[in-house]
């Protein structure tokens, strides 16, 4: 029973309860950072770290948090983890930190983090909340990486900063700009909903 629950908690955010293409959460960062695979990877690792640990922390405190100030406590905990990510990046990966700029700080406002805390961590045990946070982060990660893959390839002809397509390739400037993110995300959601999730809809 317990094992089943863990498995279910882990699998759901990856598939039929995916934060990006089912719950449509965290769209701001989906559009902003997905024009390069490298940036996307670091950003999603930051989100995974933040969702997992803040869900865990809030779940630990859940019986002691007065419900009227719970949002303040949640924001404080989330912000603390995000600042930790920011400080570590700044000190150890300065090049990456420079490129991501304000987007790391914006993880604080990523709705996935607070969404999982409100929807899951407040009612569940710490370990289960940690798994839920991690899986939600993972669900977010693979969707963003897929989008970044398409955008970087079409927009710059390269992947992970390495030129893949030859000089015959004309870069699609639109893919690099924010509208490109909208197009790719929308098409991806449409394809997934029409094919893989058709039965779930019925």
């Amino acid at each position: 029973m317990a094992k089943n629950q863990i498995k279910k908690t882990f699998i759901e955010p990856l598939g039929k309860n995916n934060p990006v293409f089912v719950q449509i959460l965290g769209i701001c960062s989906t559009l902003a950072v997905t024009n390069k695979l490298q940036n996307t990877m670091v950003m999603t690792l930051g989100v995974m770290f933040t969702t997992a640990l803040s869900s865990w922390t809030i779940s630990l405190l859940r019986k002691h948090i007065p419900s009227r100030i719970r949002m303040m406590v949640e924001t404080m905990v989330i912000a603390t983890y995000v600042i930790i990510v920011d400080i570590v990046l700044k000190a150890y990966y300065p090049e990456m930190w420079k490129q991501l700029g304000p987007y790391v700080g914006l993880i604080i406002t990523n709705c996935i983090v607070m969404g999982r805390i409100e929807a899951f961590a407040l009612q569940n045990k710490p370990m289960l909340s940690l798994i839920d946070g991690l899986a939600s982060g993972l669900g977010y990660t693979y969707v963003l990486l897929a989008i970044a893959f398409i955008r970087e390839l079409l927009g710059t002809g390269s992947l992970w900063g390495i030129k893949i397509l030859g000089s015959w390739w004309t870069n699609w400037a639109i893919m690099i700009m924010p509208p490109g993110g909208f197009f790719v995300l929308a098409i991806l959601i449409w394809i997934i909903r029409e094919t893989l999730m058709k039965e779930a809809k019925k």
Binding site: K36, R68, M72, M76, V77, E152, N171, I176, M177
Partner: protein
């Protein structure tokens, strides 16, 4: 039930709880910040110094230690500019800033002894659109300034030929224009900045 509605539970406890959480979080992040501050400052310094070395055309190993070593041995900081001593001659490196599309672009511009010909150009910081305007950081863009003279005109990406033509970046016309203006301005100011010695 009664305890739940008491004054303590209604008013004091939430305040106290929030205060303790905040205190703990602040101590944690402030401690981490202080612990890594030295590293962050030296990273920042290394960025600036690397830009000076690149603009002056000094060879260096791209590590914090390598940058530091090359900087100490061949750069001399003066009032408002740097002097770079290289195997191929002495150069002047001038820091400059100008507006970009989203924020300030700051660069190091290197000049040969005639104070007109660029020896190199390096970006210290910029906030242009990633993948478009931010390509001003790519070596192919900055390296095209070497050996050329202002005033510059922009031509299509991949087609510069004359000594004052610069490739614009496709899809980032505005950033390219801002960057051209910045390069022209620093070239105009160079003699007076260096001459003021």
């Amino acid at each position: 039930m009664k305890a739940q509605e008491s004054f303590f539970h209604q008013r004091i406890y939430p305040l106290l709880f929030m205060f303790l959480v905040t205190l703990f979080c602040i101590l944690l992040t402030a401690g981490l910040h202080l612990a890594t501050q030295e590293r962050a400052t030296s990273n920042e310094l290394a960025f600036t110094r690397r830009a000076v070395l690149q603009a002056g055309g000094v060879e260096f190993v791209n590590t914090t230690a390598g940058i530091e070593e090359a900087y100490q041995s061949s750069i001399e900081a003066k009032n408002g500019y740097y002097i770079a001593t290289t195997k191929t001659g002495t150069r002047y490196v001038i820091p400059a800033q100008g507006p970009g599309l989203w924020g300030t672009i700051s660069v190091m511009a290197g000049f040969e002894q005639d104070m007109k010909t660029f020896s190199g150009m390096a970006i210290v910081s910029q906030n242009e659109t990633p993948g478009l305007g931010a390509r001003i950081e790519e070596p192919w863009f900055t390296s095209q300034f070497a050996g050329k003279q202002a005033p510059f005109t922009l031509v299509d990406e991949g087609s510069n030929s004359g000594t004052n033509e610069i490739d614009a970046i496709t899809g980032a016309s505005r950033t390219s224009e801002f960057f051209r203006n910045l390069a022209n301005k620093v070239a105009k100011d160079a003699p007076s900045i260096i001459g003021g010695k």
